[in-house]
């Protein structure tokens, strides 16, 4: 019987399961019966990497079917400081799950940095979940935030860039109809501060992720990195989502932020 290993980002945890990614994502979002609902983002991980505190024996022993033959859905292997212990090479596909359990798998791809300079809005997912604006491009941002030489840093980070549309160049822009962020006034203040204070590279907009992420606001894709190394998981373009992943896309559009 096949066993799978998943690194969940909301909340951070390492979970073994007998369910393949799509089924696991559905189960993780809505449970076995429709009593709960919640967005999920997780990586499929190649098990067996050397890591202190993660017992592969436990995974082998406990990830077995129930006595009645039902597959074991989840065996939690670790729930604290997990991301930093999983090497980037062990990460396989990234899965985005909508709150009603539709699952979209993203493959890794090479990240080609946009040459034009603009402001960025980043949503961090792990190990912490602030939303920040920055004048650094994703690769530079990843490097800076995971640089142990900095007074504030994390060993590894998962984040995505969110759409700013016209605000990316002009914090005063008025045509921002499709941006759903709460308190746009505060967002503008943060962007203005980045433009006026040349020594500042990042500015926190929200201390923590409250509620859920609207996948439609993801600008290009998801990033995971530590120092020089960064993996990029691009989200397919909107036309492709509408055509090939319509059920996931439609469900993603139904999500509400609180």
């Amino acid at each position: 019987m096949e066993k799978y290993l998943y690194l969940s980002l909301i909340p951070e945890s390492l979970i073994a399961s007998q369910l393949p990614p799509e089924e696991f994502g559905n189960y993780y979002a809505v449970g076995t019966r429709k009593r709960s609902r919640g967005q999920a983002i997780f990586f499929e991980v190649e098990p067996g990497f050397p890591s202190e505190g993660i017992s592969w024996d436990v995974m082998e022993q406990r990830t077995v079917p129930h006595p009645d033959g039902r597959l074991k859905r989840s065996v939690y292997l670790s729930v604290y400081r997990v991301l930093e212990r999983v090497p980037l090479e062990a990460l396989k596909k990234l899965y985005l799950v909508t709150d009603d359990g539709r699952v979209l798998g993203l493959d890794k791809a090479e990240y080609l940095q946009d040459a034009t300079r603009s402001l960025h809005l980043y949503q961090e997912f792990c190990p912490m979940t602030p939303r920040v604006v920055s004048n650094l491009a994703p690769q530079e941002f990843c490097k800076q935030i995971t640089n142990p030489a900095n007074s504030i840093s994390v060993p590894k980070i998962v984040f995505c860039e969110l759409a700013l549309e016209k605000l990316a160049r002009d914090p005063e822009a008025t045509e921002i109809g499709d941006l759903p962020y709460r308190n746009i006034g505060h967002l503008r203040d943060c962007l203005r501060e980045l433009l006026t204070k040349t020594d500042k590279t990042t500015k926190q907009v929200d201390r923590a992720l409250s509620g859920e992420v609207l996948y439609r606001t993801v600008k290009n894709g998801f990033f995971v990195g530590d120092g020089e190394d960064m993996l990029y998981y691009p989200l397919p373009p909107r036309e492709q989502l509408e055509r090939e992943y319509y059920e996931w896309w439609r469900s993603a559009l139904t999500t509400f932020i609180d």
Binding site: K34, T98, Y246, L253, I257
Partner: protein, 739 residues
């Protein structure tokens, strides 16, 4: 038959032509491609659900009709206070109204998957199929109404005996009004029952599916999704069919009755006045068929061209009936044919203007709806406050247009003479305006019924996982339907107000005729009480003299009490139907939650929900909940008549008309504006989909659902049903009233 002018035969011939074209379009639609197996299966589920609902509804309504018919039979043959034809006319009105709704629903449920399949070829193919399917209902409604009217006219003309031919015509037309009561009662049940069903399913599906489970609309995992689609057919199609059958027949019958009263001194002109509304309806129907064929577009047409094609059909047939009615009225020999023709034009213009006002207040292309959307930035409370405010303000233009239309049609017909002796003629002009407004119902209803078909086609495309370009086309067809429906609503609302106004005068005529049935000893007392010496004197009294005799003036407490109760009835009825939707939706919420809990694998798409159970729940709740509000509409006019007599009843009807009309416009427009405010945000304004503004707008839309689809549309029927009931039981009122 010898007294009937040959031109009258155009009415039954037109009804046959209309029904033949309806059959032709139906066969054409049935012969088109049904789509994939999944599309057929989904359409089959919806069709079975709609049929199950209507079967159950007709059983209950059938029982109510049998009981009321027996009461009428007892009043007519037992107590002798009513004409003996009334029970039969009442039954046929109800039967044909139900039949019109049934055929419309049947066509719509066959058309949804075919329209989706046609849309997979082109936008134009989708529009043609959906529009022609809508035309089936339009033509069935007018065809059945004209058939019912002409057959009854011929029967009564042959069997009613009266030495005075003018009085005979008065009797015939007032008896025919009672089939209007049957149609109104059937329509009220269809609108209220269908409205409760559709909104219980819609709100239930949204609350658990969208809000709790995060499932998108029309997702097959939602157990209530089929019930939601069934609801579109039983509420928006069957309910609307029965409703407009009643409006159409009611306006013709009320005008015929007013014509018989207005031209009492001239037998030939009286007959012309009676058949004039029928002829305008007939020619309007023929021109509607011409208009339907004028709706043509080239392959690859865009939205603007499709809208243009629909407008060509509607405007073309309106223009043609404007020209044709001039010749009809001239040919019938009316001295004031120009004035009557101007009333027809006034009616058409009033309908168009109300439609434009409706569009202005409900479309998100205009500021009122955009203002509501902007209120969403500060949460659901301000959305609801904004919607109510805009809805209330939106009452101004329709009331203004109806008021001006009423005065103009009165003035044109009487030569701007507002003296007391012109009252009957002026009211006839108002009736003719209402008939003019509805004369092209064949095509305006086609554009109205096309909307739910396009909506269901979208649902079918969604559930069948058709490619995105097909869904975009069905969405475009749906959007087109929403715009054209605004005009249709304008005609329905405006005609309801004018017809109800005309029916008030018919009530007085019915009282005069009722005197003929009352026992002599009782009658003497009744006449003495109101100051008439003989029946002849009472029957020859003008409307103004009659009002004076019964002391129908604002200083009479009976009138004032009636007015208060009439306005209150509109609110009570709305409250009852709104609460009914809330209760029925809660049953649906419980069931959807239960299915998610107990049927493992729904969310994974491994197990199919029990769709039929949700249809059953909505059906049962709708049947249970519709009885009280519908019964009140019948019982209150009778009770007020018994307690407060004629002045009380006229006060009641006046209050219900003025209060109910304004409330109906407010509810329909507020509901429509909330819906479109949500769509405006979904198009990418104010944060777009998923934003907190969107969430607030979704709540506004949910509140507005029963406003625009249950309570609002039912109010028009309530107003007319109460008037029809009062007319039918006029004999009981004058005989047994306590005060």
């Amino acid at each position: 038959m010898e007294n009937i002018q040959p031109i009258f035969w155009l009415v039954p011939v037109t009804s046959v032509i209309a029904l033949a074209f309806a059959w032709f379009f139906f066969r054409q639609m049935k012969a088109s491609d049904e789509g994939t197996e999944t599309m057929r299966k989904i359409a089959g589920h919806v069709r079975a659900g709609a049929l199950a609902y209507l079967t159950q509804q007709y059983k209950i309504v059938g029982i109510v009709f049998v009981v009321i018919t027996l009461v009428f039979a007892w009043l007519a043959y037992g107590l002798g206070v009513q004409n003996g034809w009334v029970p039969f006319a009442f039954l046929t009105g109800g039967f044909f109204s139900g039949l019109a709704g049934f055929f419309g629903m049947k066509t719509a449920t066959y058309a949804s998957n075919r329209a989706a399949q046609a849309a997979s070829k082109s936008l134009n193919a989708g529009l043609r199929l959906a529009f022609r399917s809508g035309a089936v209902m339009g033509l069935v409604v007018v065809g059945l109404a004209l058939a019912d009217i002409s057959v009854w006219f011929l029967i009564l003309n042959s069997f009613v005996t009266d030495a005075d031919p003018q009085h005979k015509m008065l009797v015939i037309t007032t008896i025919m009004l009672t089939f209007g009561m049957g149609a109104s009662l059937q329509a009220l049940f269809a609108r209220v029952g269908g409205g409760i069903f559709t909104k219980a399913a819609d709100v239930g599906a949204d609350l658990v599916g969208k809000v709790e489970a995060g499932i998108p609309e029309d997702d097959p995992r939602n157990p209530a999704t089929i019930a939601d689609n069934v609801g579109d057919n039983v509420g928006d199609v069957a309910g609307m069919g029965a409703d407009l059958y009643e409006s159409y027949a009611g306006s013709i019958l009320a005008t015929a009755a007013l014509g018989a009263a207005a031209f009492l001194s001239n037998a030939e002109l009286q007959l012309s006045a009676v058949i004039a509304p029928m002829l305008i309806g007939s020619v309007g129907t023929l021109l509607s068929i011409v208009g339907i064929f004028m709706v043509r577009t080239k392959e690859g047409a865009n939205m603007k061209q499709l809208m243009g094609a629909l407008n060509t059909g509607i405007n073309g047939s309106s223009l043609l009936i404007t020209i044709a009615s001039f010749f009809i009225l001239k040919m019938l020999g009316f001295e004031n044919y120009l004035g009557l023709w101007a009333s027809v034009v006034t009616g058409l213009a009033t309908g168009i203007l109300i439609g434009k006002a409706t569009e202005y207040y409900t479309s998100h292309a205009y500021r009122p709806t955009q203002r509501i959307a902007e209120q969403a930035k500060t949460g659901p409370a301000t959305v609801i406050i904004g919607g109510l405010g805009e809805g209330m303000i939106s009452v101004l233009p329709p009331v203004f247009f109806v008021v001006v239309g009423t005065l103009l049609s009165y003035g044109f017909t009487t030569g701007w003479n507002f003296a007391a002796d012109t009252l009957s003629m002026g009211l006839y002009g108002i009736g003719i305006a209402a008939v003019g407004m509805l004369s092209t119902l064949g095509i305006t209803l086609a554009t109205d019924a096309y909307g739910p078909i396009a909506d269901n086609a979208g649902g079918n495309a969604e559930m069948s996982h058709l490619p995105p370009e097909v869904r975009k086309r069905t969405d475009a067809l749906d959007a087109l339907g929403n715009t054209t429906a605004a005009t249709g609503k304008g005609f329905a609302i405006g005609s309801a107000a004018l017809t109800a106004l005309a029916l008030l005068a018919s009530y007085v005529e019915e009282i005069k005729i009722a005197y003929s049935h009352i026992e002599k000893t009782k009658l003497e007392g009744i006449l003495h009480k109101v100051g008439f010496d003989t029946v002849e004197q009472a029957q020859k009294a003008s409307l103004v003299e009659f009002m004076e005799a019964y002391e129908v003036h604002l200083m009479n407490p009976k009138v004032l009490v009636g007015l208060f109760i009439g306005v209150m009835m509109a609110f009570l009825f709305c409250g009852l139907t709104m609460n009914a939707v809330g209760r029925a939706a809660s049953y649906m919420v419980d069931e959807v939650r239960r299915q998610f809990r107990e049927i493992a694998g729904i969310m994974e798409g491994k197990a199919e929900p029990d769709y039929a159970r949700c249809v059953q729940i909505s059906t049962k709740a709708a049947q249970h909940e519709m009885l009280l509000p519908a019964s009140l509409a019948v019982i209150v006019p009778v009770a007020i008549g018994l307690l407060l007599g004629v002045p009380g009843v006229l006060g009641l009807l006046g209050g219900a008309l003025a209060g109910g009309f304004s409330l109906a416009v407010m509810m329909a427009n507020a509901g429509g504006a909330w819906d479109n405010a949500k769509k405006y945000i979904e198009e990418g304004h104010l944060g777009g989909k998923g934003s907190s503004a969107h969430k607030a707008a979704v709540i506004g839309d949910t509140v507005g659902d029963p406003f625009k689809d249950t309570s609002g549309p039912s109010l028009n029927i309530l107003i007319k049903l109460m008037t029809m009931v009062s007319i039918v039981v006029a004999g009981v009122t004058v005989t047994y009233s306590i005060f």
